[in-house]
Symmetry: C2
Subunit: 341 residues, 2 copies
């Protein structure tokens, strides 16, 4: 539609060659000061911007990072986990600071996802957030590695996988919050959430939980463990099932905050008091956690730091710098849902 301004137009007006315009605008030091100034002035006046498709095609880069967000397909059509949304915000900021564009995409677990981006030359690298079944996921990752795609991973990640991971020390987090419950005098602590190889992050939290129990002379009780998906509703249903088992329960560690909110609702439905009859603790520290009733004791995974690290490490990877995995310290956020005043 509109007549596009190109570097040739600028060159014509400035009375120089198009090559010189390109050099002047890209900051090539060979160009003389006056020439550069003149060209910049004209470019500004004509509202000229370098065509990224052309320059990217030429240089075979994109200055773009793609964020691939996987939500478990079993999850309903509702909202994205606020934890990821918060991460998304932090990643957006970090990309802006690093002068990279951010392409955001939701993915289902189809066969093609790993190829969609870098191979399209739309992104120089990938940030991967979330996954359905980790076992399936790991295979896709292996494929990405085969293709020498640049990517970094949040959360999961395994020793056998040669991929850069930024993760929370989930075992430590699970240990610390369970230890805290025990110190509050709780002895019959349930765990809600899937703890299997398909969900390594939750599994690690579970392992931390078991460790804390054992260190305190307590034995993990299978009957106090109920699987659940990463949703409020699933946490609610799992807790209902738990409470129907007629086992003694005085605390529940839910593997994430979303489930914890559901757990609290299930407890209230039973006319029990959260924090008194049953302590509830979660994981993530989503923004809602401080406003639940009672406010939720949980483990914070700092999304600001995580986002910055994901972006920084990915850019280092793209640039060929040395990069290593990063571990984020979990941080206990003691509020009232665990019985502490």
């Amino acid at each position: 539609m509109r007549n596009k301004t190109t570097s040739f137009d600028i060159a014509y007006q400035a009375g120089v060659s198009q090559s010189t315009v390109s050099r002047a605008l890209s900051g090539n030091p060979l160009v003389s000061k006056e020439t550069r100034a003149r060209i910049q002035a004209i470019a500004k006046e004509l509202n000229y911007k370098v065509d990224k498709n052309a320059s990217n095609l030429r240089t075979q880069t994109s200055n773009t990072i793609a964020l691939l967000l996987f939500e478990d397909v079993t999850v309903d059509d509702s909202n994205i986990n606020p934890f990821f949304l918060s991460m998304l915000g932090s990643i957006t900021k970090a990309c802006a600071e690093a002068k990279y564009d951010l392409l955001v995409s939701f993915q289902q677990m189809n066969d093609d996802w790993y190829a969609e981006y870098e191979d399209c030359h739309k992104a120089d690298g990938l940030i991967l957030l979330g996954y359905g079944d980790y076992l399936t996921y790991a295979q896709k990752l292996a494929h990405l590695i085969d293709q020498k795609t640049h990517f970094v991973l949040w959360g999961a990640g395994d020793k056998s996988l040669d991929a850069i991971t930024i993760r929370c020390d989930n075992k430590q987090g699970g240990f610390a919050i369970t230890q805290h419950l025990i110190e509050q005098g709780r002895r019959h602590i349930a765990f809600i959430g899937e703890a299997s190889d398909a969900t390594p992050e939750l599994l690690e939290r579970y392992q931390g939980y078991c460790q804390a129990l054992k260190d305190n002379g307590l034995t993990p009780n299978k009957k106090l463990h109920v699987d659940a998906k990463i949703t409020e509703l699933s946490g609610y249903e799992a807790t209902k099932e738990l409470l129907a088992r007629n086992e003694k329960v005085d605390a529940i560690f839910t593997a994430c905050d979303l489930m914890a909110i559901g757990a609290m609702r299930a407890i209230k439905d039973k006319q029990l008091v959260v924090g008194k009859d049953i302590a509830v603790v979660g994981y993530d520290d989503i923004s809602v956690a401080q406003f639940t009733n009672p406010p939720l004791t949980t483990v914070r995974q700092d999304t600001n730091i995580a986002g910055q690290l994901l972006v920084k490490n990915l850019i280092d990877l793209i640039k060929g710098n040395d990069v290593s995995n990063s571990i984020i310290e979990p941080r206990l956020m003691i509020r009232q849902s665990c019985g502490k005043a």
Copy 2:
């Protein structure tokens, strides 16, 4: 690094010309069935993807939408308003469904923002979310229009501006929630939030508030109006100031939920009971609202619908279809903070 597969490689293997490969893969109906099938098989085997930089350069399109998110620069470095985050989630989904890529960007209010995207041929159109001072913003918009940039706007937008806007009926929302407070027996209803031409959305909510008061024989009282920024902290401070004025206050309508959370905190600090001594209502229905203590009565702006409309209208605009403004119905979410049990 890796040897990139191009359409010439496919052509060579298939024993056809590169043109035919391009046609086959782009769905051009001229290509014969067998040829197409053969080419597709080879492309899949070689994991070939069309280079978007090249095809976009050639066709002068991008199949990409850019989301520009403006946060008021006066806002601290904290988190993005969850309302926008939720919108971002919904827009991401809608773009994925429409097969558009989404480029996300945070913007400060610098001179160049309007030119950054479409002119770079990285995006076919823009979605604009948030703004600092609307008056400054409107000038930039005028410039965008001059440049015939395709864009849609959330929230604000004025009759004089020839831009497609998707917005909530803020006046109606402000009216309805104020009316509700009055029906609950509240008579001394304060308004917290800036209500000026610089913040048209909030101004409309304020106008709805005034209208409801007048319709019920009440007079808006200047002393019950305190300006505030769109943050929890600012809502907290504005409410402290309000309560220090020693005017009778039995309800507060804060112009957004973030402020409402701050307002509730300020009320509690004064040893007053939210929902009893002072009713509090907000606007937006961010996900936190249902978990505050007490749960916050507010006006929902449906971000799912909003995101879908923004994307749909923008795509129509890009395609040259007729597009008109959309108005989203505000929806009262009655919870306990307004005194209703």
